[in-house]
């Protein structure tokens, strides 16, 4: 099944024939109507944006298209004929390859294995040709600009890398339709560019692409047409060209253009007043062959950004500060008092909170309710006489669910059932409950829709305003530049340079990153 029948001879790019088409597609999960009678049509040779706020039904639509779920009602037509895939394998065999929202690869297997699982190159004895497989994988991943050891265990790599590997897997097979559900949410500007290249390339070969993203700017850059979903219903389809940002957002949120007023790309205000004494002082953090003497100081009310390329060690830095990663040396001080190293619980007690970038593996407890997930981190602190303080928790949960506009059927709904973005908000709430002095945010707006993103950014701003010290990791340059008062650029696990004041600009940051990268690549070229 390495090459799909369709793949062998992709039809010429005709902008007219829908290659993938749905009619009256509906799906509900119990009482939750995820999709209501959605019509959607993807032309061959177009890049079709699929947008909507969190929980609008984007991923559900994709899962219906690819046989993960079965529709309650409606029909799906692929390449003219009506189809009913009953498992993803069927969809793939038919020529639809998909990159799902949460990374769906096998952490324990090597990068190469993950790329070729199920369609490994064979020797003439019918055995897997490991050497050839690794070579091909290295080539493929390399062509996407990620230089990793393909025999390395995937689970050890950063989320960004994993995302690129998932992309590589999707690329490794010829198909007529490629679907990507928020592929860029954890990618770096540079990788995003690569991804776009790949996408355009596919389009030129007559492949139809579906592209989901909450980074609206990307849509204009890449997509030909856009379909907007709201509360599981189709509300708009049309060309990207000539569509202005405000009216798109209006369509997504279902508000009049007038109501929607968005200045700039983000909701951050300007630089915050800065106290003299740093509340967080990190010096000489060393993590075996990953981090080398990282130091940083954050004052109350200050937002310090961490920039860097994939694997530059941003996530590892914050993890180390939080005590979640065994460090060999270095000290962390909060409010002048030293924090016991390598102990999450002491870090927490000292007032540090970490919003991890990998919400699936390190964030949510899928089987627990939204409520219990939010209250998780404060549970030990709040409980009296070993009992759960239900009242107090209910109040807290109530507040945060309203404040962050978490979209769940009820506080009792299982987090597993929430949409990606809403899960992110739940985690945000979990940490805000702990009333931290220092908040480490690793990709805080990952997969959050415009409305919510604006809220989260405003929130960060506000928290800083109230004297919270924030460390912000974001792979969105604007967010970093506008959100942070200072930016530390990491490279290969060390602070390469710092951008402050008027040097804190997107272009400067890009330059800094590129500079770092160039040095990194000296060896290879």
């Amino acid at each position: 099944m390495t090459v799909s029948p369709a793949g062998t001879a992709p039809p010429p790019a005709t902008g007219t024939v829908p290659v993938l088409e749905t009619e009256g597609l509906s799906k509900s999960f119990g009482p939750v109507h995820a999709l209501r009678a959605v019509d959607f049509a993807l032309q061959a040779g177009e890049i079709h944006a699929l947008v909507g706020e969190n929980g609008a039904g984007k991923s559900t639509l994709i899962k219906l298209l690819t046989g993960v779920h079965r529709p309650d009602a409606g029909t799906i037509r692929f390449a003219g004929g009506e189809v009913a895939f009953d498992r993803p394998a069927d969809a793939q065999r038919a020529g639809i390859s998909t990159v799902y929202q949460e990374i769906n690869l096998v952490p324990l297997l090597s990068v190469a294995r993950n790329v070729f699982l199920g369609r490994e190159p064979r020797t003439r004895w019918g055995l897997v040709d490991t050497a050839a497989m690794n070579r091909a994988a290295a080539e493929l991943v390399g062509s996407l600009g990620v230089d990793v050891d393909v025999t390395a265990e995937l689970g050890r790599l950063g989320l960004g890398v994993q995302q690129m590997v998932a992309l590589a897997r999707a690329m490794s097979v010829e198909s007529r339709v490629v679907i990507m559900d928020e592929p860029t949410s954890s990618l770096e500007a540079r990788e995003v560019a690569t991804l776009f290249e790949v996408a355009r390339n596919l389009r030129s070969r007559g492949v139809g692409l579906v592209f989901v993203s909450h980074r609206l700017d990307e849509l204009w850059e890449l997509c030909d047409r856009v379909t907007v979903l709201r509360d599981g219903q189709h509300v708009h389809t049309g060309p990207m060209a000539g569509l202005d940002r405000v009216s798109l957002v209006a369509a997504m949120l279902g508000r009049d253009v007038a109501e929607v007023a968005i200045e700039g790309a983000t909701e951050f205000g300007d630089t915050h007043r800065q106290a003299v004494e740093p509340v967080l002082t990190v010096s000489g953090i060393d993590v075996r062959n990953r981090l080398h003497g990282i130091g940083l100081r954050v004052r109350p009310g200050e937002v310090v950004g961490l920039g860097g390329l994939l694997g530059s060690g941003r996530s590892e830095t914050v993890k180390a500060v939080y005590g979640a990663l065994p460090v060999r040396g270095g000290t962390v001080e909060v409010g002048g008092r030293r924090v016991r190293p390598n102990s999450v619980r002491h870090a927490l007690r000292a007032g540090i909170a970490l919003l991890s970038e990998d919400r699936k593996a390190e964030g949510i407890v899928p089987e627990l309710s939204v409520r219990d997930n939010i209250a998780l981190a404060v549970l030990p602190r709040f409980s009296r006489a070993g009992l759960v303080p239900e009242r107090r928790i209910d109040a807290l949960v109530e507040t945060f669910m309203r404040r962050l506009r978490i979209k769940a059927a009820s506080p009792a709904q299982k987090v597993r059932e929430l949409s990606g973005g809403n899960q992110q908000k739940v985690l945000m709430a979990r940490w805000l409950c702990t009333e931290p002095k220092v908040f480490l945010l690793d990709e805080p707006t990952r997969g959050i829709d415009v409305g919510a993103k604006a809220e989260v950014q405003a929130l960060i701003d506000e928290l800083a305003g109230h004297g919270l010290a924030v460390v912000l990791i974001s792979s969105e340059l604007d967010e970093l530049v506008e959100g942070a008062d200072r930016i530390l650029v990491l490279h290969d696990g060390a602070v390469a340079r710092e951008l402050t004041g008027e040097h804190k600009t997107t272009s400067a940051l890009l330059a800094a990153l590129a500079g770092g990268r160039r040095r990194a690549e000296d060896g290879d070229e």
Partner: protein, 326 residues
């Protein structure tokens, strides 16, 4: 269609959230139990009597108590194979210390269970050994220890112990009361206590629980201690009932029946959830299956096959439809 983000979450009742599959999953075991009862009422002589009920309740107690402890362990995505051996250890200690009085003997027996549980807990929670292998080692060694302590089977004549085994108030046997108390306690732990909440969180996503600053190790150790403690209690009750302690035979294969009861009760082995009522129903179901087969004098061979079929059927009722949900 008003906007989803602005409007506060529409209030919905918990019940409203349940899908059919969920409902079946939650209640399948009760359905199966009810079915089996009805069948017996129809075809078994002398079944409809208070005695039958009392008898089943009495006989189920050891397995039930063990199953309750097991449910906690399984909630942490663990498993405990040592329960049978722990029952034997407890039973074997009773005759040794009965000289110091009933209380002391029982106390020591239960303590022994707690200790063996602590060993398991430390191996799993602190050293990070896989639960099944850690408890397997304890199971093998424990059975040996029980035999060393107990030696040959001994009859227990101590009035206190005998009363514990066969006494009753208002027609309700002590053992049943104790089991009920244990069930209530465990239910309370799981539903109301912080410990219980942390337990399911750890079972659901260990890494996330660690990062949320939960005392993962302490909770794990506590859980295995509780499980060992309950197993020991079950051993004591069994000894008290049979007025003897037979270290080689007490609690043989109880680990399997206990786990089966828990799983039939709807608690997934993948952890993150604990169903107490289900576990109780599961244990009763297993008990009633055995009883039914004896009532009708089914030979061993057929009995085992029948048991196999019924168990699978019972679980299918609960989980079989899950896939249909997609």
């Amino acid at each position: 269609m008003s906007d989803g983000t602005i409007a506060p979450p529409e209030p919905r009742t918990r019940r409203g959230l349940r899908t059919d599959a969920d409902w079946i999953r939650r209640n399948g075991v009760y359905v199966a139990l009810a079915l089996l009862v009805l069948i017996n009422v129809a075809v078994t002589d002398n079944f409809v009597s208070e005695n039958t009920l009392r008898l089943q309740l009495i006989q189920v107690t050891p397995v039930l108590i063990v199953a309750l402890g097991m449910a906690l362990v399984i909630g942490t995505e663990g498993i405990d194979l040592s329960v049978g051996a722990v029952m034997a250890i407890a039973a074997s200690l009773i005759p040794l210390y009965i000289g110091y009085g009933t209380g002391v003997a029982v106390g020591i027996a239960v303590l022994a269970g707690a200790i063996s549980g602590a060993v398991a807990g430390i191996l799993v929670g602190r050293i990070g050994v896989q639960p099944i292998i850690a408890t397997l080692g304890i199971m093998v060694a424990g059975r040996g220890l029980a035999n060393l302590f107990g030696g040959e089977i001994k009859s227990i004549r101590d009035p206190g112990v005998v009363a514990l085994g066969s006494g009753s108030v208002l027609g309700i046997p002590y053992v049943v009361l104790i089991a009920a108390a244990v069930a209530a306690l465990v239910w309370f732990l799981v539903r109301r206590s912080t410990y219980g909440r942390q337990l399911v969180a750890i079972g659901g996503n260990k890494r996330a629980a660690e990062l949320a600053g939960l005392p993962v190790r302490r909770v794990l150790v506590t859980t295995y201690v509780l499980c060992g403690l309950l197993a020991a209690l079950a051993g004591v009750l069994l000894a008290a009932r049979s007025q003897a302690s037979d270290p080689t035979k007490v609690g043989l294969l109880v680990e399997l029946s206990a786990i089966t009861a828990v799983v039939i009760g709807g608690t997934p082995l993948s952890g993150g959830q604990v169903r107490i009522a289900g576990t109780i129903a599961g244990a009763l179901l297993m008990q009633l299956i055995t009883a039914t087969l004896i009532f009708h004098d089914i030979p061993d061979s057929t009995a085992q096959i029948a048991q196999a079929v019924i168990v699978v059927a019972a679980v299918y009722v609960q989980l079989g439809r899950r896939r249909a949900r997609r």
